[in-house]
């Protein structure tokens, strides 16, 4: 078994990008388009919309809080079996949901079961992607994450069509079949043995070392702050526009425009992240600061042209910060600990995500408009970018090659046999 000193940066890595693309589409695209089902559930179960929306909330919460589980299992067994199991769980959840007779049934099947499935797929895949690339990591991540945006475009009309032809039970059955493709995506994740793997040890040891790792903790705090402010515009932009007197159709159209500029931002930032020398954390800080400033400017803009310009800019910068956010982590903790690292970050940042939207809603109820919400969102983002400055090598000119270098020489000396990452890897 040969341990690579360097990630391949291409070759099979592009198949992993493809797999990650479809996975982000199937996990987050489905979650985002689930709103189409809500109307049907409200009518079918005769429950208020608030109770029905808990289905998605539980699903997202389980996906994020369960990320460390996915990470730990991937470290032990490799990403492939974990992601394939996750795919089966996600599909099973949807399948059982099609037989639901009450809302609780849906909470358990879609929320808990599918949520756990998603927890086992998304984080290991992105971590695996980070291991396959080093020089082109940001670009690969950016390309993979475009799956989220594109699938939201495609799935919403698709789900509506399914509902029109099969009603919600049949539609859930077919969405379950769609989610089975996660298993196929998982099959594409060929295990990769990198040189630092034997050194970093098993998952327990990794988590302990991560929790004592200063830069990692600071990064986690920064990401959590960013996450708190990040989702607020998505949730409240349309409502804010309606408050200003916009009609629903132009408001929805503006959201689509934001989605397009988000896509462009992801790819552009991914390319930029690799092209610019130096730590990627600087670019993350740049995009986060810009997003924060734009959000703070929202209350000032009243003119339609100003709002459109701000929304396009917001879409671009918020999309731009996603791939670099994922790319910073391997630079901090090394590709050996990436699974556990990413899992922990996802779990902690979810707190921010869960708090952000209700906080914004509360501010709106108290103040009467969205000014305070947007400004606070911007403030969270700026705070997050401020914490990013404290990361190591922030002001260096050249790329950080810190830990992995030393780990490689150690690893090749000791040649510790590793229990996981089966046979026949590249």
């Amino acid at each position: 078994m040969a341990y690579r000193a360097e990630p391949p940066d291409g070759g099979w890595g592009w198949m992993v990008v493809l797999s990650a693309f479809f996975q982000s589409a199937l996990v987050f695209g489905v979650l985002r388009s689930f709103g189409v089902f809500f109307v049907e559930f409200v009518a079918a179960f005769e429950e208020p919309a608030a109770r029905v929306s808990w289905i998605a909330s539980i699903g997202i919460a389980v996906q994020q809080f369960g990320s460390p589980v996915g990470s730990v299992l991937s470290t032990k067994f490799g990403p492939r079996p974990v992601v394939m199991t996750g795919g089966i769980l996600a599909a099973l959840g949807m399948l059982l949901a099609s037989f639901a007779t009450s809302l609780t049934h849906l909470y358990l099947s879609i929320g808990l079961l599918s949520g756990s499935g998603w927890a086992l797929t998304f984080t290991p895949t992105l971590a695996c992607l980070s291991r396959y690339f080093s020089r082109r990591r940001s670009l690969a991540t950016g390309l993979a994450l475009t799956g989220v945006g594109l699938s939201s475009f495609a799935f919403a009309p698709l789900f509506q069509w399914l509902l029109n032809h099969y009603a919600w039970r049949g539609a859930l059955l077919l969405v379950s079949a769609l989610s089975l493709h996660l298993v196929a995506c998982g099959a594409l994740l060929r295990p990769l043995s990198l040189a630092e793997d034997p050194v970093v040890g098993g998952p327990g040891a990794q988590i302990t070392s991560l929790l004592c790792h200063g830069p990692f903790l600071r990064y986690t705090i920064a990401i959590t702050l960013i996450n708190t402010g990040y989702f607020i515009p998505y949730v409240h932009l349309v409502a804010h526009l309606r408050d200003l007197g916009w009609d629903p159709l132009p408001a929805a159209f503006l959201l689509s425009v934001a989605a397009i500029s988000d896509l462009v931002g992801r790819v552009a930032s991914g390319w930029l992240g690799d092209a610019v020398p130096g730590p990627v954390a600087r670019l993350l800080m740049l995009w986060t600061t810009l997003t924060g400033v734009i959000l703070a400017l929202y209350p000032v803009a009243e003119v339609p042209t100003g709002l459109v310009a701000l929304t396009v800019a917001y879409g671009f910068t918020s999309g731009a910060l996603t791939p670099v956010a994922f790319s910073v982590l391997p630079e901090l903790v090394g590709t050996g600990k990436i699974y556990c690292g990413l899992g922990l970050v996802q779990m902690v940042e979810s707190i921010g995500g869960l708090l952000g939207a209700p906080l914004s809603g509360y501010l709106r109820d108290v103040t009467g408009n969205y000014t305070a919400s947007f400004v606070v969102a911007g403030a969270f983002l700026l705070a997050g970018s401020g914490v990013l400055i404290t990361l190591p090598h922030f002001f260096c000119v050249s790329a950080p090659t810190s830990k992995p270098q030393d780990l490689v020489t150690e690893a090749l000396d000791t040649k510790v046999p590793l229990p996981e990452e089966g046979l026949g890897e590249d």
């Binding site: 360097e6 049949g170 077919l174 379950s176 493709h181 020489t409």
Partner: protein, 324 residues
Amino acid sequence: MRTKAAPITSLPVREEMTTKYSNLTLESHSISMTAMPMKENNKGNQICVDRGIMLQRNVTLERPNMPAEKNITLERPSNVELTCQFTPSGNLNSVNVTWKKGDKLLEDNYLVNATGSILYTQYRVAVINSKQMGSYSCFFGEKKQQRGTFNLKVPEINGKNKPLITYVGDSVVLICKCQDCLPLNWTWYTGNGSVQVPIGVPVNDKYVISGKHANETKLKITQLSEDDQGTYWCHAIFELGESEGHVELVVLSYLVPLKAFCAIAAEVVLLVAIILLFEKYTQKKKKPSDDGKEIEQGEQLKLDDSNGIENSGPRHRKNESVGQ
């Protein structure tokens, strides 16, 4: 001002009728029209063929006589007052005013009045049952006859435009409702082509008609089977007539989506098999040459290790020696 053809004052004959129904609500509606002026304007050159001779001149195509129409929704008996006002282009006196219900000319019950250059005519009718519903039109006869129409209708019922999809064995609730109306009664029919068969006549468990508020009705059908597929009509009965809406029901068997599910699941299994087999195949091709490479790598690395300090800078050099 006087006109030639219409009586001016209100009508004594019908007054008793109006007082008899004076406890009913009064509804007033009006339409206003203006005559289109026949002026020349420079909007485009039109080629006119007049008796075989081609002429070219600037003309305004006379705007087509756009019918002014108003829909009036009536639920319960009321006194209705319909007013048409008209601004003629020429002389007020030359205008001929008539009223029609449908095609039938109305003799009385209306008055004509004029202030300044505007001509008013008003028709009053006590609507007590469905016979008085329909289309009432006022006609102003000038060079070109102008027409205003009032359509008296019962409230519309909304069923569902999209067909309802259900599965065998399920139960479904069909809902018909109307906006602000309170019908006297609701009835349901199932449509078989053009024949409508009433539902719920022998009261059984399968069909349950209910409705929380007066402005809606719900038909619950249990134990659905494929025979229950089709169009269902809901009739709302008012004092002034009947109105209907419809809902289409489609009953599918579970096999329909299940077949699609199995097809997609089979496709996924196939994909996974292809991916894993492809991997096994490419590894088999590598295996024989791999062993040799590994030994080389081991030796190479030992050599590099001794130069560790010098090689700490450029990583790409090490990459090349380790090999792919």
